[in-house]
Point group: C2
Chain length 81, copies 2
Amino acid sequence: MYQVEIFVTYKESILDPQGEAIQEAVNQMGYREVESVRQGKYFELEISKDVADVQATVEAICDKLLANVTMEAYRYTIKEA
Amino acid sequence: MYQVEIFVTYKESILDPQGEAIQEAVNQMGYREVESVRQGKYFELEISKDVADVQATVEAICDKLLANVTMEAYRYTIKEA
């Protein structure tokens, strides 16, 4: 089995209002040392070893379903379990 | 500066309907080798070195704001940049 972690975040150029709102809330809670917050999506997939090309499969799933590639960037890790 | 990554996912005992819906969609797209999908939230924080205790600060922010600790579990990494 492959254990896959996928991280999807807004591209640097894209405004992240949710991240900014969280930062404001955190600063107001008294944690003034927090200088920036970015929020994203996180996925854990289990993929069977029968897959022909695990990397190509992960990238196709990200491109087609998990990330809006116009606004979001993704990265992933693949571990054999 | 500290670079902090936070991963928030449902506790094992909690149903993850969104993860299941994604898995179904992925399988229907033809990626039958994907055996499970779990979705969560991902945060990147930058915290200044002036902070007294970075670990305690991160845990307080998770407990109070980023995670619903009744249903969600979180883990984090802290790197010095």
